[in-house]
Amino acid sequence: MKHAHSISEMMEICLLAGKLLLESGAETYRVEDTIARLASSGGIESIEVFVAPTVIILSMRKPGQAEDYTKLVRITKRSTDLHRVTLVNDLSRKVSREFCILEEAKEKLKQMERDSSPYPPGMRITAAALVSGCFTLMFQGSWKDFLPAFIDGGLGYFLFLFSKRFVSVRFFSELLASCLIGVVAKLAVLFGLGKEVDRIIIGSVMPFVPGVLITDAVSDLMKGHLSSGMLRGAEAFLTAFAIGTGIAVVIAVW
């Protein structure tokens, strides 16, 4: 029963799980862990797996076989979906405790690949607006700046989500959104809606802070996945740079 799965089937399940995790922003060690756990519960004898933010290389051998099978998957899109990370994590635990068999696991993984996020876009834009307003207050802004920051952050996030459909370069969407944020903040102060441009802008760009990248970078570095940690740090830095440039353009031109 345990050895009933063919090696190619095993590889497919492992790589699918790894791909889902990596695309959703899981740490490198979690991806390697999950793959190793799935593989060993499928009766695989030797596993070598290398994970970087853009690639998974997996090589495994069944007992009694002479050769290793190796497969490589490239990861092209990366986003943040902690819900999916939790689901895949749960699934791999269940499999290793043999609560559910591998066919079932494969079905569930395929379904997770189709399912989208638990929150609709409207709700995410509202959340971004709320976050912006709250951060303006936290950075010693006055209550008068809450409303402009609320609107500004919502608009910025909306443009970010909208432009992501047409532009595949993420940094460009971020740059565009932060440009809009700068312009709207300036306009709000111009028309007497807000008091301080700086506080409104700071609050409104907060939804773009690459929090998951930062925490991943640190935990990857600490766990010894040096290349992954450096890559994620570079990605986080690029995001910050894009936001800064967008705002800088507005300030310089205005």
Binding site: S24, G25, A26, E27, R30, T80, D81, L82, H83, R84, V85, T86, N89, D90, R93, R97, S117, P118, Y119, M123, R124, A127, A128, L130, V131, C134, F135, L137, M138, F139, D198, I201, I202, V205, M206, P207, V209, G211, V212, I214, T215, D216, A217, V218, S219, L221, M222, A240, G244, I247, A248, I251, A252
Partner: protein
């Protein structure tokens, strides 16, 4: 202080939604963020070094609570500590750095840039310290229930 707690709670929970955190983790994530922020506010003064120190302590606390909650809820740590770390990110100082650069005040820009780097380093240090020490302590005093 109560207002600061509520506001940072909402900000952190909102971030949970932006990161597609599982619904069960939203409220705990918000609470962690609020605790980290209040700790930071309480410890930091106008002094430059105190700000860095407060960031280390707050991000360590955030990580420690996240590790415990991850064990209780049986979820990845990532679902909790990300939204908790966000309020500590030096967005304001980073903004000032950029603004000074645009206005050609290079000395002032370098000053706030080094401050930004120190605070981001402090976040990383607190995260790394918490992520290394706390799991060891948890495993020692609070072993996993026997898995069947």
């Amino acid at each position: 202080m109560i207002v600061a707690f509520l506001v940072s709670f909402m900000a952190s929970a909102g971030f949970g939604i932006l990161f597609n955190a599982p619904k069960k983790a939203l409220v705990p994530g918000g609470l962690i963020g609020a605790i980290g922020w209040v700790l930071y506010m309480g410890l930091s003064s106008r002094n430059h070094l105190a700000q860095v120190f407060a960031t280390v302590v707050a991000s360590f606390a955030v990580t420690a609570i996240s590790q415990c909650l991850a064990r209780i809820y049986r979820m990845p740590v990532l679902a909790f500590n990300v939204s908790g770390i966000i309020p500590l990110v030096p967005g304001g100082i980073a903004y000032h750095t950029m603004r000074q650069l645009v206005e050609s005040n290079y000395i002032a820009a370098i000053q706030s840039a080094s401050q930004t780097f120190l605070i981001s380093g402090a976040i990383a240090f607190g995260l790394g310290l918490g992520g290394t020490i706390i799991p060891i302590m948890i495993n020692k005093w609070w072993p996993v229930a026997k898995q069947k």
